[in-house]
Amino acid sequence: MLSNFAMKQVSDVLWEIPPSYKPGMRVPARIYANRELLQAMDRIVFEQVTNVACLPGIIRYSYAMADAHWGYGFPIGGVAAFDVEKGVISPGGIGFDINCGMRLLRTNLRLGEVKPKVRELVDLLFQLVPAGVGVKGTQRFAETQFEEITKWGVKWCAEHDLAWEDDPSHVEEGGYIKGAEPSKVSGQAKSRGISQFGTLGSGNHYLEIQVVDPARHFDQVLAQHFGIVHEDQVVVMIHCGSRGFGHQIATDYVRNFEGGMKRAGIQVRDRELASLPFNSREGQDYYGAMACAANFAFVNRQVIVQKIREAFGRVFHRDPEALGMHLVYDVCHNIAKVERHTYDGSTVEAIVHRKGATRSFGPGHPDIPPPYRSVGQPVIIGGSMETGSYLLVGTQRAMEETFGSTAHGSGRTMSRTAAKKSIRGHDLQRKMQEKGIYVKAATMDGLAEEAGMAYKDISQVVETMDRAGISKKVVALRPIGNVKG
């Protein structure tokens, strides 16, 4: 925690670092955290969130959410909105895994029906959804076909029998970000994308069978709006992104931006903060490429959902439609989007960067699909494999305070090496089995690295955001089966 200068306390869960903290800050930085989270927060988050506050065209504040931790350039858990005319776009403000996100699929099954079949389900899912190092995708495409996928996102899926009718409307932005320009994506990125279509990936990416936690069913009325009608209803959560495709685009453009910044005479405090005016040629090129990666990630999650529907259908010998396997929602948590926001009586058009942060639009927003519009956008927060996840809802207060944004997850507190030293993969697998969670992982080392103890307490993060009023708790979800890449 910062001790040598005045960090202003705005409320018990909101803190502000004034522009006097370091030369060049254009706006204050705001950190959402209770005292405990703030004290545990890596000091580098304060440096990073204030570095972001120095970037040209930033509006109002540079934000760090309750799950903030060190990231490349921008902190993870960071939000920054830049004026579309005078502001910048930064690959480091979006993250390497462009449109990494969460998707929640519901079923009409209850715990008692699924529990005896979890092992069979997880084993089949592991077989159907490719996961792990260098794994190949489920379909191969010519480059021109692949470009169509990246241009149209879930719309492409809908035209190719890879989506149900109501799927696209239950995905942020309808599963399709306008302005995708495949011509701005390198051949290397396309090759990586083509070979990884429909793959889960590895690291902290997972596919999880979960059950609603009856003890933490916070808002039953809202839960019903989102199709969660039983106290022990089974749902499936997917966490993954744009795979090597998005990473290659980020890699390519961080290098491109360095050249552009030299030419434009822009200096930043950290190489990973590389940024250029949004309306410059390079800025627009990156946005066009980033939108391709975002669309690919939507498609990737969609293709995985189709496999999940297939697996449930096969195991329960019923049509997935009859199992009620509709999307609750799909949210991005590594993205930049052009959005219109109103605050203090004025309306701005901004390129809102959310890196390890989730959109949290409140009731009435036209971008929320009609069935949810009156209550607010579903917000999906993924926790560690052991501790569970949350379904929340966006709020008007988020619209007023944070450009409609909230946290995204729990955030690591222990390095991968330290986690592996603390527990062996097989032991963790056994321990989780004892807790009633059946896990199948591509590698045992990878499993050990994702142990629950390596992560912050997600409940504290969720409570803080709820108390701050920028997202409200709906229901907690407890894992019963997990496929880990």
């Binding site: 931790h69 060190w70 490349y72 993870i76 390497f96 895994d97 792990g132 190092v133 260098g134 794994v135 190949k136 290397q188 090759s191 990586r192 070979s195 990884q196 990936g201 590895s202 690291g203 902290n204 795979r243 090597g244 990473h247 290659q248 980020a250 890699t251 961080v254 290098r255 190489r271 990973e272 690591r412 507190t413 222990m414 390095s415 991968r416 090496t417 330290a418 591509a442 590698t443 080392d445 990878g446 690295e449 890449g485």
Partner: protein, 140 residues
Amino acid sequence: MPFRFLDNVAIADVAFEARGRTLPALFESCARALTEVMVDRRSVRPRRVERITLTSDSTENLLYDFLTDLIIRKDVESILFKEFLVSLDKSGRKLKCVARGELIDRERHRLRNDVKAVTTHLFGIKRSGKGFSATVVLDI
């Protein structure tokens, strides 16, 4: 070992420091470290030979591009390498590498993490008393 993993540099990712008496030896150490993140190299056989040729505008960028190239080959061709023989031209901006490895075999290879990118965080080559060292942070 000509490389060591650095704890707590990038908590969600993997960082390493590699050393080499010469620049080509440093590049080879980095390639081995990168590979060890993805697979236990002892389980990989040197059955297929790939020749990698790269040019960049600086030695540091050349190292970055070399490691990125190995990541791309893992994703696109499903190949992991066991051995690397690197040579650089006098300018330090042109690389030739003979890499020996094989296609990924999920049964036999002890696979670890899927590395997705090399980051520029702390990335750099330093001259040290006994040669060169490099710090690399990989995005997982």
